[in-house]
């Protein structure tokens, strides 16, 4: 297996212990002045990546780690307001080597899962990552879509909700166990691959103080969200750099009301 270049996307979310409140204008959850932290599922992802590295670097080596390939890079990424730097620092204090902050202004539209997946796909190509480990969902929106869509966009193998990640003895494959009703389902794949993490995967570490200080010196690159799409457009390999909508692609259309809908269905011979 080639050395792993792992991308770990992380999200800054309202802390799990905070009781969310609706904002004054009743449009969304109040986020200002509320404690935020790293999405708990993303902590698991970072931990998983760091443990892969430690399989080779830690003495004595952890059990059953012999077949784990070398980890060349652990890149943490967050897309959001400048404050996301916090969670990137945490990720680097836990062991990520470097980070990228994709800046999305507080007032700009928030990124939906598809947009995030597209951002990630661009980063993967630009940075030459061959494994993406991300949370199965973030605890704010609970959409749970990003990982799957990313694998789709990249055309990579996908294993969701990992409760265990291991490397096959021949060193060629990744085995991911997922807990399902009534048992464990195991999927086997090869890099490049996208894996999403579930609760029982590991117990994330808390950063030690020296590592918190070291994280301050690690690289944090800041890029505007537009710039990221630019990377990919320049590469020219994948279409859809500007995020074309459904209409441009010729699918779907809009109707005004129920009557319009019925009329349109009749027109199409569906009724």
């Amino acid at each position: 297996m080639p050395p792993l270049r792992i991308l770990v996307p992380v999200k800054r979310v309202i802390d799990y212990a905070v009781k969310p409140r609706v904002n004054a204008s009743h449009t969304a959850i109040e986020t200002s002045g509320v404690k935020h932290s790293l999405n708990p599922f993303d902590e698991l992802s970072i931990e998983a990546a760091v443990r892969m590295r430690e399989a080779r670097t830690k003495k004595p080596p952890p059990p059953n780690s012999a077949s784990t390939p070398e980890v060349a890079d652990i890149l943490a990424l967050s897309a959001g307001p400048p404050k996301c730097a916090d969670v990137l620092r945490t990720a680097m204090a836990m062991g990520a080597d470097r980070s990228i902050l994709i800046e999305v202004g507080e007032k700009e539209e928030q990124l939906e899962p598809l947009a995030v997946a597209k951002v990630l796909a661009n980063v993967v190509e630009k940075e030459g990552c061959n494994l993406v480990i991300l949370g199965k969902q973030s605890i704010d929106d609970d959409a749970g879509q990003t990982g799957g869509m990313l694998a789709g966009l990249l055309g990579w193998g996908f294993a969701g909700q990992a409760a265990k990640i291991s490397f096959t003895e021949d060193g060629g494959g990744i085995e991911v166990a997922k807990e399902v009703d009534g048992g464990v389902e195991t999927v086997r794949g090869r890099v490049p691959m996208v894996v999403t993490t579930d609760l029982r995967l590991n117990e994330p570490r808390y950063a030690s103080l020296p590592n918190i200080m070291k994280a301050k010196k690690k690289e944090m690159r800041k890029v505007g969200v537009g710039g990221v799409f630019g990377w990919r457009a320049r590469g020219g390999e994948v279409e859809d750099g500007e995020g074309g909508g459904a209409e441009e692609e010729g699918g779907g259309g809009k109707v005004e009301d129920v009557d319009g809908l019925v009329g349109r269905l009749k027109e199409l011979g569906a009724l």
């Binding site: 945490t90 204090a93 808390y206 030690s208 103080l209 918190i212 200080m213 301050k216």
Partner: protein
């Protein structure tokens, strides 16, 4: 960790750094923490709740510190908070340490004082007064492997710390120490001891000098371990020095400067104890708040819904926030190189009073459940008492504050 009413008479010995010019710095809320300090708070909170909390009750009952806890403190980097990275420490600032001590006490004040004494007294002593060579020798050990103790108090000298009787004499190649120290925190766990002894009693307190003694030194022994009311997992012992010979490079700083070092170190150290007491008060308050607002119902309502209870909880919380403001302000002033002696004394005095009051009330708010040794309410209450005693009793703090105020307000 002793007190002394001389605190204000002598300025600290090293030429103080120029105070920071704060005139152009925009003021921020006193509770505003730097990124490092917030990360410190967050990690220590997580560390303490997962690693220490499950052991806190058992360690108190057994009156011992679990060695696994000590080991994890080193791993976590909490034993070398301010020690530079070059010496194997975490290289953080003073206030980060204060925040860490506070967070630890929120969960277990015994573990908190272990970390506090080690960092604010022992590490600080070496960092401030040690030669480059002794820094190289001791700091890496203190940051990664060896717990430290600070030995000032004696059976006959507590508040009047500089009446100490332990003697040091010059011998060929070094010094010989004889005497007895009492109330020595961390002594069961420690490998290194900072010891204050008088080299020349004819000079009175100006003969006092500081030494570093290794546990393995011949003639060093731990005599009696005290059984205590509170912070029972923290060891407090009598230690004896019976013709203990140490090489000359284990003199800390200069001969005859020990009293100045002690004053300087304890002035800062007090902010640590104040942080311990603030964390303790918050821990006790939160423990009770959780119970009265989420668990316990009487007359079909959560007991915390009754106004009589709410007002008490509110009042207590205000006091905790006030204590914390004093603590952080003292810490920031110290960091800025400003005079902080009165601020540290005020913070320590008030935080220990608040800790005593709030943890006592918290027991009552929880009724019978506050009184039993199942939960932690009664433990916080017992642990709070020490705040008014070590590193200068409350009276000694009042002496310091009072003297400084009188000086400030005396005309001509």
């Amino acid at each position: 960790m002793s007190a002394t009413s001389h605190s204000t008479a002598h300025p600290s010995p090293e030429s103080p750094p120029d105070p920071l010019d704060l005139s152009t710095v925009p003021p921020t809320p006193i509770t505003h923490l730097s990124e490092t300090e917030s990360l410190m708070a967050e990690t220590v909170r997580k560390y303490a709740t997962t690693t220490i909390l499950p052991l806190a009750r058992a360690m108190d009952e057994a009156e011992t510190m679990d060695p696994a806890v000590v080991e994890s403190l080193f791993e976590q980097g909490l034993m070398g908070i301010e020690i530079p990275e070059d010496f194997g420490g975490s290289g953080m600032n003073f206030t980060a340490g204060i925040v860490g001590i506070e967070e630890l006490a929120r969960v277990d004040p015994s573990v908190s004082v272990l970390v506090d004494v080690h960092n604010t007294l022992v590490n600080t002593a070496i960092m401030k007064y040690g030669t480059q060579e002794s820094k190289r020798k001791w700091l890496p050990r203190l940051a990664t492997a060896s717990v430290g103790s600070f030995c000032l108090s004696e059976p006959a000298s507590g508040s009047d710390a500089f009446a100490l009787k332990t003697r040091a004499e010059k011998v060929k190649d070094g010094y010989r120490i004889n005497g007895s120290k009492m109330w020595i925190t961390n002594s069961m766990e420690a490998d290194l001891f900072i010891v204050f002894a008088n080299l020349d009693p004819s000079k009175g307190y100006k003969g006092i000098s500081a030494f570093v003694v290794d546990k393995s030194a011949k003639g060093f022994s731990i005599a009696k371990k005290e059984k205590k009311l509170g912070i029972r997992a923290s060891s407090t012992c009598v230690v004896n020095f019976d013709d203990v010979d140490i090489p000359s490079d284990q003199l800390l700083g200069e001969e005859g400067q020990g009293y100045k070092y002690a004053i300087g170190i304890l002035n800062e150290g007090r902010i640590g104890i104040a942080a311990q007491m603030t964390g303790l008060a918050l821990g006790a308050w939160e423990n009770a708040a959780n119970y009265v607002w989420n668990d316990r119902k009487q007359f079909n309502e959560y007991v915390g819904s009754f106004q009589g209870m709410q007002h008490q909880l509110a009042q207590a919380h205000v006091e905790i926030c006030a204590a914390r403001a004093l603590v952080y302000n003292a810490a920031r002033k110290k960091e800025a190189g400003l005079d902080f002696v009165k601020d540290a004394a005020m913070a320590k005095l008030y935080a220990s009073q608040v800790a005593g009051r709030v943890s006592g009330q918290a027991v009552e708010w929880m009724g019978g459940m506050g009184f039993v040794r199942e939960g932690l309410a009664e433990k916080y209450f017992r642990d709070s008492k020490i705040g008014a005693i070590y590193e200068g009793t409350s009276n000694i703090q009042l002496n310091t504050i009072g003297k400084l105020l009188q000086k400030e307000y005396t005309k001509s």
